[in-house]
């Protein structure tokens, strides 16, 4: 029996002989050569199908690795629900042991899901009836899986008890969440608080909200009330014009184009700037007079920034925005909407001006703005945000743990330092002076985002920033719909949240 290792096509194949009959020695030379030339095509066809089958295997592997999470947490996936007959849904608990969602079993074995904080965590923790939302939806698979030891599973089975699903431990801080929830008050809007150097989401509030304990009773009316859309998690899925908070990225784009001479920037603000049929006014028709870049930033001078926008290379500006995840998904498994940045190299001057001051077509989610502030606070490195710190078995053994993970270094430490300086100036003498009254230091940027939908106009109040700029503890994004200027509504909310943190 011969093994032929070469074919003329240059392919190395071991031709496969599968004889059950042993051939006596001797070499079938002539026949062989013909065989080889005839078989080239067959060898190529074989390779083609081996490749196709390898693709099939690759797809199966993909579904069980990278694709797995989004499939098991898909809202339509009810596979796990059948295990609810055998498994008591696990709890959602904070790191310090505060229970946010727990399944109670009464004497007759009837189960009910209870949310001790009611409305306070409504969007982020979610609900487990009428479809599912929030963590209850995205962690459904874990809550209904059990990783407790085989022994304890056997014990439960012996006593014909149900098994205990795994618990989900979240990064949320109830004290911060409570402060943010009360501070936002009756405003519609959202508050997101993150830890800049880890990406942990510490608080996430969205209003209007709902009580997950009674959601089944109120479901019909809530779904019908599209004006309030209380089920929408505005913190991660609401898209708003960023207003002046976007000047952080405009400034970064300017720094990139003027790395050496940005300190010598000067502009004489006369209160308005007109190009074509668009006139940019400073808020409240203020006239800021001559100012440097820091001053323009701190006072949120629209005309100065519209002027900067005119001077920026649109393509480079877009690169900055897109490196910060505009027009793409954010590096997190938390369900969210994509933010939008429309400026292109061919855009007219009017659009350059409006985009530079965060109006125009730009839209952003509060979570995204919080990540941008957090990146400045963290010396230019964006962390991947997360709010599930680990999954544990019923008896406390860790099943899966999320480690803080770097997304990317999006700006240099120097650039981050300059932006931090400007954001501190905003607090010390600019539009966020109210924060200067605290016993801790902070930095930030306000925004007053004007919008027009269906003929009604208004101004959303924004604040993004971080506390303790020397070693940042908290990064925050606040939006209050129709809250007026940033300093009117959003800054006091951030103030209240910071106060709560530092009064521990």
């Amino acid at each position: 029996m011969r093994k032929r290792d070469k074919t003329p096509g240059g392919f190395r194949v071991r031709e496969i002989r599968l004889d059950t009959t042993e051939q006596p020695g001797g070499s079938p030379g002539r026949v062989d050569r013909e065989d080889r030339s005839r078989n080239t095509e067959l060898v190529i066809v074989t390779y083609l199908f081996v490749l196709l089958f390898a693709l099939l295997i690759g797809t199966v592997v993909w579904i069980n690795t990278i694709g797995h999470g989004s499939l098991v947490s898909n809202v339509n996936n009810t596979k796990k629900d059948s295990s609810a007959d055998k498994v008591i849904r696990g709890s959602i608990v904070t790191e310090n042991g505060t229970q946010l969602a727990v399944t109670n079993v009464d004497a007759d074995g009837r189960e009910s899901r209870y949310y001790p904080y009611g409305q306070m965590f409504s969007h982020v923790v979610g609900y487990a009836t009428n479809g599912k939302g929030g963590l209850e939806a995205s962690m459904n698979n874990d809550l209904l899986s059990t990783h407790s030891s085989l022994m304890s599973q056997l014990r439960s089975e012996e006593n014909s008890e149900k098994l205990h699903g795994d618990n989900v431990i979240v990064t949320l801080d109830p004290k911060l969440q409570e402060a943010a929830w009360y501070a936002l008050g009756s405003n519609r809007g959202a508050v997101v608080v993150m830890e800049p150097d880890s990406g942990k989401i510490l608080a996430m509030v969205s209003k209007p909200d709902f009580d997950p304990n009674t959601i089944s009773q109120e479901w019909e009316s809530m779904v019908a009330d599209t004006a309030n859309s209380a089920l929408l998690n505005r913190a991660s899925q609401g898209r708003y014009p960023p207003g002046s908070t976007f000047k952080i990225l405009t400034t970064l784009a300017y720094l990139r184009e003027h790395p050496t001479d940005f300190e010598s920037f000067s502009y004489d603000c006369t209160g308005s700037l007109t190009r074509g049929d668009v006139t940019i006014n400073c808020y409240n028709w203020e006239v800021h007079g001559p100012e440097d870049l820091e001053g323009a930033f701190a006072h949120s001078c629209n005309t100065a920034y519209a002027n900067i926008g005119l001077g920026l290379d649109n393509a480079k500006f877009r690169n900055v925005a897109e490196s910060f995840c505009f027009n793409s998904t954010l590096p997190t498994t938390f369900p969210h909407s994509e933010s939008i940045f429309r400026l292109t190299s061919g855009s007219p001057e009017e659009e350059q001006m409006t985009t530079a001051i965060g109006q125009g077509d730009t839209l952003v989610t509060p979570l995204h703005m919080c990540m941008i502030a957090s990146t400045v606070a963290n010396g230019g490195i964006m962390m991947k945000p997360y709010c599930v710190s680990r999954v544990e078995t019923y008896d406390g053994e860790v099943v899966e743990e999320t480690k803080p993970a770097i997304y990317k270094e999006l700006m240099s430490a120097d650039e981050a330092q300059v932006l931090t300086r400007y954001m501190k100036a905003t607090v010390s003498y600019g539009t966020a002076q109210e924060l200067g009254w605290g016993w801790y230091s902070s930095a930030g940027k306000t925004g007053s985002a004007e919008y027009e939908t269906n003929g009604t106009t208004g101004t959303h109040s924004w604040f993004v920033g971080f506390s303790n700029p020397d070693d940042p503890d908290l990064a925050i994004a606040v939006i209050a719909e129709d809250g007026g200027t940033g300093s009117e509504t959003a800054v006091p909310i951030a103030h209240a949240v910071f106060d709560a943190w530092y009064s521990y």
Partner: protein, 458 residues
């Protein structure tokens, strides 16, 4: 008691995966082994794996359902396996034992899954398998003795196109696509059998077409008619199988990559045209791009299939522990997803490899044949088989749009399993033919009048 049961079921679950892995390894290891004895050992190990796997599968099903009928089913199928393995071995000692083993393994996996999904179906499927196997035992003889069958090319062309047209005209609508004909109470899918006839027709048309453009054009035109009829009857999966099979056979017959590229381009253009002409093609594509956009309707089947695969994970939920019945037409179109869910991804990957091993064996047989006609037949049948596996597994895993073809020998479906058994039997027949051929070579070589030195390596 129930403790022991849990432990036992868990052990059985992993054992089944291990057995499948060992089997799969052997089905490739055999290609490397030389020496009849070493190969015999490999085949023996495979047979042991098949029987143990079948026993464990039915044991789990029995423990889960406590249905006494399963004991009869088990015994009947074990008998079937024993008979098939022994009969082939004794009637055809030169048959490829790898193909027989693979056939038995795939049938066993299929029967366990079909029984798990519906015991009514499993009985029906079993009788068809038995009938098909009897047929398969006769086919190698026919191939060897009745060589005039290779000369009936035009009869195959007429029969193939006629049957496909008959479907368009007279078929009842099943599952949204016109596929089945009902004859005497039996619904059967002619396209499953036309596949085989088509391969013979193309082999006849192309076996002496090298360099003869007129013959190539004629063959291409006739193949295009087959494909067009299938597209019109909305059987897109079969259309694609016929198309690729023809291209591959054309390539092997002419050795001309440009012809194939031109064919691929024409096919791509036709696919784009079909996209704009037929709404059912557009629906398939949009569902493939985003199954969740129209989840409740057109996207439901593929979404459920994907959820099932994800739910199974690497080692599966175990038989009867998942919910594969949530997938519409699971036993026909999405058997692979059901296998992923309950037997696990590791098992499913082994299954893909076993199918690949069958294909490699098909091609291997084609390589060894010197008769151009038979070479093309073996290649064509191999391509048909491999394409079908690719379409159904690629479809259920959303690698490509779902076309609703069966997984040969594993899926539920009488026409499918019957035609695949016939296909395997034909290839077996060809395998034995080439051993005949080799014997003739042997005689020639030992002929002292042979010109010395010709091609003899020193």
């Amino acid at each position: 008691m129930s403790n022991l049961m849990t432990l036992g079921l868990q052990t059985a679950k992993y054992l089944m995966i291990v057995l499948m892995a060992i089997y799969t390894f052997q089905s490739f290891a055999v290609f490397k082994r030389s020496g009849a004895q070493a190969k015999d050992m490999v085949f023996l190990r495979q047979d042991v794996c098949i029987f143990m796997f079948q026993f464990l599968g039915y044991l789990v099903l029995f423990l889960k359902t406590m249905n006494a009928q399963l004991i009869i089913s088990y015994a009947a199928q074990a008998l079937y396996l024993a008979f098939t393995l022994l009969l082939f071995r004794n009637l055809y000692p030169k048959a490829s034992r790898l193909l027989i083993n693979n056939m038995c393994m795939l049938l066993t996996i299929g029967m366990i899954m079909i029984t798990r999904l519906s015991s009514d179906w499993s009985v029906k499927q079993f009788w068809i398998i038995c009938a098909g196997t009897v047929l398969a035992l006769v086919i190698p003889v026919i191939i060897r003795k009745l060589s005039f069958l290779t000369k009936m090319t035009w009869a195959y062309v007429v029969a193939g196109i006629g049957l496909l047209l008959l479907v368009v005209v007279a078929a009842q609508v099943t599952n949204g696509a016109k596929l089945a004909l009902t004859v005497g109470g039996f619904a059967f899918q002619p396209s499953e059998f036309v596949k085989i006839i088509f391969v013979f027709a193309v082999a006849g048309l192309l076996s002496d077409a090298r360099g003869d453009l007129r013959k190539i054009i004629l063959a291409t035109g006739l193949a295009a008619v087959h494909v067009l009829i299938l597209v019109i009857s909305t059987d897109l999966g079969s259309a694609l199988i016929f198309f690729v099979t023809y291209l591959i056979m054309l390539y092997a017959a002419t050795g001309n990559p440009f012809l194939v590229s031109a064919g691929l381009l024409a096919g791509a253009a036709a696919a784009v045209l079909a996209y704009f002409l037929f709404s059912h093609v557009r629906v398939r594509v949009s569902v493939w791009l985003d199954p969740f956009a129209d989840y409740a309707n057109t996207g439901y089947q593929i979404s459920q299939a994907l959820f099932a695969i994800a739910a199974g994970g690497w080692f599966g939920t175990g038989l009867c522990e998942g919910s594969p019945t949530a997938i519409p037409y699971v036993a026909q179109d999405c058997m692979f997803a059901a296998i992923c869910e309950e037997l696990g991804a590791v098992f499913a990957i082994c299954l893909i490899l076993v199918c690949l091993s069958c294909f490699i064996m098909f091609i291997n047989i084609a390589m060894k044949l010197t008769n151009r006609y038979y070479r093309l037949v073996a290649l064509g049948l191999g391509t048909t088989y491999a394409m079908q596996v690719f379409l159904t597994i690629g479809g259920t895993t959303k690698l490509i749009p779902l076309t609703g073809v069966t997984l040969p020998l594993v899926s539920y479906g009488g026409s499918s399993v019957l035609s695949t058994l016939i296909m395997f039997a034909i290839v077996q027949g060809l395998y034995m033919l080439r051993i005949d051929e080799e014997k003739e070579d042997e005689k020639e070589r030992q002929d002292p009048r042979r010109i010395p030195g010709e091609g003899d390596p020193a």
